[in-house]
């Protein structure tokens, strides 16, 4: 299993290394965007599909990571690339103290509390002169960048992150930690009784999820050379994560990959081919997501998996309770 993963990763990275030779900047940009979105989706999936915590405020970490990288680069006057590690670091530092208090909240309360958290930070960023206020901050150290290699390097970073994210989640879920995490998701009381440290496992998942999103956000905004609160804290970030994971298949590793493909296919179809204004593709993606939730609640990947019998990343968890038509309810 690990060998397959290693071979797959090497193949993927070799492909990524070679691609800039044949692909133009626009194409690389698009692929980078896809890969970064995939990373974010995997991170959200780690928290929701495996740890059972649905966050509706993950845009906060996207923004925190991006701002951290920007500020580090600008104030320490170092190359933006070297400032990137600040992103996951700061996100982790923020995630650590709020994790356990937040875990005490029941499902919906956790979700919306995360959203409020994001709104609070957004409002604070809007008022912060140091961060550039509502106008935002341009990447003043962009002079340190060699723009001939800009898109390829970003693409390589995004590819490497994808490898780590997908492979990492796969290894994690195949480990004892992953098993414990899934047990927690399915029945935390039972998990506790067999010695799984519920709080600890959730905590790790939460911090990793935050850090990963932060780094992805930092790379994204590095590419934009500009950050503003309105964009960075936009709920659309988490909307995309949620839709991708739901459509693809929550709690599976292949799911977010499939979901990302479908998401961007729909986006390009609606904005490029149909030439409709931006809101329509979100309506379309939303309709697909809602339809998936109603008629294929495990997502589209499980359907494909059952149909064709393929299972590249064999660790997946079944959500504890699918929809049933059973009438044996509370009596």
């Amino acid at each position: 299993m690990v060998r397959r993963l290693l071979l797959g990763s090497i193949a993927f990275l070799l492909l990524a290394a070679a691609l800039p030779a044949v692909m133009g900047e626009g194409g690389l940009r698009f692929l980078s965007e896809c890969l970064l979105m995939l990373v974010m989706a995997q991170m959200w999936n780690l928290l929701a599909g495996y740890a059972g915590l649905v966050s509706m405020g993950h845009q906060a970490f996207v923004a925190i990571g991006a701002y951290a990288a920007f500020m580090t680069s600008i104030h320490l006057q170092i190359s933006p690339y070297f400032a990137l590690p600040a992103a996951p670091l700061v996100c982790a530092v923020v995630a650590v103290p709020i994790a356990r208090p937040l875990f005490r909240l029941r499902e919906a309360y956790f979700s919306i509390a995360m959203w409020v958290f994001a709104e609070i930070l957004a409002a604070a960023a809007n008022k912060s002169v140091w961060l550039g206020g509502s106008v935002g901050t341009p990447l003043t150290t962009s002079g340190m960048l060699n723009f001939d290699w800009f898109e390829p390097i970003l693409f390589w970073i995004a590819s490497a992150m994808t490898c780590v994210a997908v492979g990492g989640v796969y290894l994690l879920m195949n480990s004892r930690f992953g098993l414990g995490l899934m047990a927690v998701r399915d029945n935390d009381l039972a998990a506790q009784s067999i010695g799984v440290d519920v709080q600890h496992n959730r905590f790790i998942a939460f911090v990793i999820s935050a850090a990963g999103c932060g780094l992805a956000g930092a790379v994204n905004y590095l590419g934009n050379l500009l950050i503003s609160p309105l964009s960075a804290f936009d709920v659309t970030w988490v909307v995309n994560m949620i839709f991708i994971v739901i459509i693809g298949g929550i709690g599976t590793i292949e799911g977010p990959i499939l979901g990302t493909i479908i998401f961007f296919a729909l986006r390009e179809f609606f904005t490029d081919i149909l030439s409709l204004p931006g809101g329509w593709y979100l309506v379309a993606v939303g309709v697909v997501a809602v339809a998936t939730m109603l008629w294929a609640p495990g997502g589209l990947w499980p359907l494909i998996r059952e149909r064709f019998g393929v299972e590249p990343f064999t660790v997946r968890r079944r959500p504890p309770a699918q929809f049933t038509n059973s009438a044996e309810g509370k009596l």
């Binding site: 038509n325 059973s326 009438a327 044996e328 309810g329 009596l331």
Partner: protein, 232 residues
């Protein structure tokens, strides 16, 4: 005249088959006991009758009409009422409001609030209290009263003596006389063999989802019954 008739009923509870080819009938005004230990399938059977179990095969007929495909809401309007295991009172409603819920179907008949209070005088004093403040026996009375308020033609009672003191159970079983006096048929599910024996015209024994005995009560001895119950 047969009021309720069940033929070759199979039922699944979750993924397990709980009932195997069960045949059963109740005539108008009759009192039938369904005996069996825990897990024999008694509660599942009653839930099948009132329409709460969807995964079932076989025929259930009420007054000649096939009700096996009908939803629970529709069946309740025909005059089949359940006093469920665990009482299942509405905990945010007062005693009186719980009773009134039974009358939502507005079926014609002689049962109303004052008659129910007449049957269970203790409830009249407690009409505005919440069910959680009542004793187990009183809660059971509310559950029975709630079922009566729908003027049922068949009253299904699931383990109503469970967890109650014998004196209290005596009182509740005494109320059955009045209920039967209305012509209401009774199906009593019990684990207590003696109780069932004393209150029923006919007895069924259920073991692991199958009927092991069906007889007129007076033709059996308690010993016969005990044997069938434990499946020796």
């Amino acid at each position: 005249m047969t009021l309720l008739e069940v033929e070759a009923l199979d039922a699944l509870y979750g993924d397990l088959q709980a009932i195997f080819s069960l045949t059963f009938s109740v005539a108008a005004g009759e009192s039938v006991a369904l005996l069996g230990a825990n897990g024999a399938g008694k509660s599942t059977f009653l839930k099948c009758l009132v329409g709460l179990i969807e995964r079932k095969r076989g025929a259930v007929r009420f007054d000649g009409a096939d009700i096996s495909g009908m939803p629970a809401e529709a069946i309740s309007r025909l005059g089949l009422a359940l006093v469920p295991e665990g009482r299942m009172l509405f905990h945010s409603l007062t005693v009186e409001e719980n009773l009134l819920m039974g009358a939502v179907n507005e079926r014609p008949g002689s049962w109303n609030l004052s008659r129910v209070y007449g049957l269970f005088p203790a409830l009249r004093e407690r009409r505005r209290q919440m069910p959680s403040h009542l004793s187990g026996g009183e809660q059971q009375m509310v559950a029975i009263g709630r079922a009566l308020m729908s003027n049922p033609r068949v009253l299904l009672c699931d383990e109503i003596s469970l967890g109650l003191a014998p004196v209290v159970v005596d009182e509740i079983y005494r109320s059955f006389t009045d209920i039967r006096g209305e012509g209401t048929a009774l199906v009593i599910v019990e684990q207590d063999v003696k109780r069932a024996y004393s209150a029923a015209d006919r007895i069924y024994c259920l073991l692991k989802g199958r009927v092991t005995l069906e007889a007129v009560a007076s033709s059996l001895s308690l010993a016969d019954l005990t044997r069938a119950y434990f499946g020796t």
